[in-house]
Amino acid sequence: MYRGQSGMWLWILHRLTGVGILGFLFLHIADTYLVGFGAEYFNELLFLYKNPPFRVLEWFLVGAVLFHGFNGIRVIVMDFWDKAVDNHKLLVQITIIAFFVVWLPSGYFMLKPVFFH
């Protein structure tokens, strides 16, 4: 085990969220495929997305997309802007703050209709 710095943990999370998003993509391809058999099959499956635990998972999916996006922007900025490499720690902090600022309110809007209707 290597005790890496913040950059290493963000890199690991970037990989994990990337795989997670890919996994959801496969699920999504599978459920839209059901439309081909008729609307009733597809509607039957929609109970899955209205299910409270599944909605929580969807909130985590949104988190994965947001983190992957913000961190991706950080990596791109470092590739193209020399000063960004000098301010690596500041960029890490901005990435983490931006992620929570968007992700936590999204939880309110996504989970409220399911848990407090």
Partner: protein, 238 residues
């Protein structure tokens, strides 16, 4: 004042062991002793079979890079108190990741040096040097690659790099740093050759900007920055 220090060292003898295993040693050390001094105490007075590399013992030769408490460091540049050894914390010492372990803390550096040689780490200039003087360079031009001249080829950066652990063909940060030293040298004419090598699949674009290398470098070389500068030199063709 001498205190009792506990060392947990990863041991591996290819003739006896199937797998590497930890062994613990208690030795007396001063908080201002270096980890290398403590390893010497173990080797000289406790267990002569303990094997590690060291040469100058002053942070110049780069022989004693190893993982100390999970991070690549030179054993001759880390004090016992730096890693809390004087406050009763165990000091864990392992060989660097990404290299084949030959014995105990000694790793096989041959592939590392092959990668280093592959980037042509020497001045290339196809014109004859002026007969009356050296190839002159302004202080400003010298400054551009000043940081990367400091590399001592200890391997701490490459051994801290996740893409280097998982991909044995990746050229690694140390080779890239040494390419940087010549690519940005105004007297050198081999930049295109080196950029062609580094632009291949296993070159600079394998870097994932993890930053472990910058933290691990005992010479404080901004390794990630050097890698990014080479990438930009390729992208913008400069």
């Amino acid at each position: 004042m001498a205190t009792q220090v506990t060392l947990k060292i990863l041991r591996y003898d290819p003739e006896k062991d199937k797998k590497a295993h930890f062994e613990t040693y208690e030795v007396e050390a001063d908080p201002l002793d270096r980890i290398l001094d403590v390893l010497n105490t173990v080797k000289w007075y406790k267990d002569g079979s303990l094997t590690y590399r060291r040469s100058c013992a002053h942070g110049v030769c780069g022989s004693d890079a190893m993982r100390i408490n999970g991070r690549n460091r030179l054993a001759c540049k880390v004090l016992v108190r730096d890693v809390g050894g004087d406050t009763g914390k165990k000091i864990q010492i392992e060989p660097m990741l990404g290299f084949k372990i030959l014995r105990d803390l000694v790793v096989d550096m041959d592939p590392f040096f092959e990668k280093y040689k592959s980037i042509k780490p020497y001045l290339i200039n196809y014109e004859d040097a002026p007969a009356s003087s050296e190839r002159l360079q302004s202080a400003e031009d010298r400054e551009i690659f000043d940081e990367t001249t400091k590399c001592i080829l200890c391997g701490a950066c490459s051994g801290s790099c996740p893409p280097y652990w998982s991909n044995q063909d990746f050229i690694g940060p140390a080779a890239i740093v040494n390419a940087h030293r010549f690519i940005f040298d105004s007297r050198d004419q081999g930049s295109d050759e080196r950029l062609a090598i580094l632009g291949q699949g296993e070159g600079v674009f394998r870097c994932r900007t993890v930053y472990n290398c910058t933290d691990a470098c005992p010479r404080d070389i901004p390794v990630t920055k050097a890698i990014e500068q080479i990438r930009r030199a390729m992208l913008y063709n400069r």
